[in-house]
Assembly symmetry: C2
Homo-oligomer: 281 residues x 2
């Protein structure tokens, strides 16, 4: 009766969500799929993202037996959550809604800033989620941040890290200037991409005073833990702890070597053997 939780991302970023889950759910098994053959989703259209995400979700549910699905990718959550929910019969949780809930709880002014990929921003999914909660949001696409993380330029004491710091300074200056233009008084910055937690020290150094950082990956993980723990509370004696080395299976649609190499940076531990899967396109 140990539940299998399927975690899906276009690449490796979703491993930051998985990282927050593994420690806190020793009674669950995890199947992680990175659709690395077709990443990044962030620069693609809704139609294409939905098709890719549905194929990936079906793999996790139909072939890996996932009973609960976490869309650990802001872009797919923003553009394909409905399509995924229509395509599979299990519960599906994205990262937008938990991120918006956490930001709403943290904000006093009810004005928030959101940074994310191009596709996530264009979807206006965060703006819609915040509006439903009575908050105003200004979103900004930051397309350089994912490649900076993947290049590993995340050591703030190096010349490379200084580039990352300057890129973040420029993006945040543009975003806060736009917020001021609209008369916003933001007190929360939402990290709306699962790559961004690896840049958290840079954001902490760069945000204006009084602005709190909310990480949608962390918020989504907490929502999953809450949901699974509710099931465990109901059916506790049916669940068994899983040995740590049997807790995780990883799949990628391309380049398992790169996944194994980069993945540990996001997961905070070795990802183990990654299996190649053909999602058919």
């Amino acid at each position: 009766m140990t539940p299998t939780i399927g975690v899906f991302d276009s690449g490796f970023g979703g491993l930051t969500v998985l990282r927050a889950l593994l420690d806190r759910l020793p009674h669950a098994q995890f199947a992680f799929l990175g659709d690395t053959a077709r990443l990044p989703y962030g620069s693609k259209s809704r139609r294409t993202i939905a098709r890719y995400a549905v194929e990936s979700a079906r793999f996790l549910v139909n072939e890996q037996g996932a009973e609960f699905l976490v869309i650990a990718c802001n872009t797919a959550s923003a553009l394909a959550l409905d399509a995924i929910q229509d395509a599979v019969s299990v519960s599906v949780l994205g990262v937008i809604e938990p991120g918006a809930q956490a930001a709403s709880a943290a904000s006093q002014t009810k004005d928030v800033l959101v940074i994310a990929t191009d596709a996530t921003v264009q979807s206006r999914a965060y703006t819609a989620a915040f509006r439903a909660l009575g908050l105003r949001a200004i979103e900004k696409a930051c397309p350089l941040l994912v490649p900076l993380v993947e290049e590993g330029w995340i050591d703030s004491s190096s010349a490379a890290g200084a580039v990352t710091a300057e890129v973040i300074r420029i993006y945040l200056a543009e975003l806060t200037a736009e917020a001021a233009t609209h008369g916003f008084s933001p007190d929360v910055l939402v990290l709306g991409c699962t790559h961004y937690p690896l840049l958290r020290p840079f954001f902490e150094a760069a945000v204006p005073a009084g602005v709190r950082i909310i990480d949608s990956a962390q918020a989504a993980a907490e929502a999953v833990v809450h949901s699974i723990n509710s099931r465990i509370a109901l059916h506790g004696n049916e669940f068994q702890a899983v040995p740590p080395n049997a807790q995780l299976r990883c799949f990628a649609s391309d380049s398992v070597e790169k996944f194994e190499r980069l993945g540990s940076r996001f997961l905070g531990r070795p990802v183990g053997n990654v299996q190649l899967v053909d999602l058919g396109g």
Copy 2:
């Protein structure tokens, strides 16, 4: 008898090759395909890149009637040229060979530096092409440069342009340090990605004294012009000049709006209406 030249890239970068062709081949028509749904190829495996590139090549030859195919993408040229040549019956020219030829002609020391995407570098296609010409090459992947170009951070007088300049300085410092370690005396830097011509002023400001810059996009265009002009010299009176507004048809596998918006930056003129095509994957 006006020939149709098919030009293919994973994205927009190949428009820099097309730009160099349009002016110089008024007797040709062009069909350009950007496989934007599946870009960037630069971070994917050989198997995946070859499959995508063959589907794209077949579209240009079988559906658009291309009689000559230019693979205006270093990554696809490096990893899929053989597969494309096997899949279509027309002449196929990539950018690696012309780039290597031009660099060889420009080099006195016969040691060259190559910068390109991750997949191009990992293929060692440039190293092999240079070895066949009796030159030594050191290659370096520069994954941040494509997103910097696509973000438009290419004005050297701006804070954003200063970031691009610093990224290029770091990459070139690492590359020249590695060259020195191996006892190389490079006098040529090959721009092995069709995005890089838009960064040419930055490279000119950053390369060590005595190092010449060779642009593989420009070299490939010159090879195509030479080949087509040879045909025109043989069959001259069968060719007719094409009105400029009928010279180019552009296709993209995703997000034609983005193509229309970004493409003009690469082409140096409006790309016109871009048609969406489904390459089936």
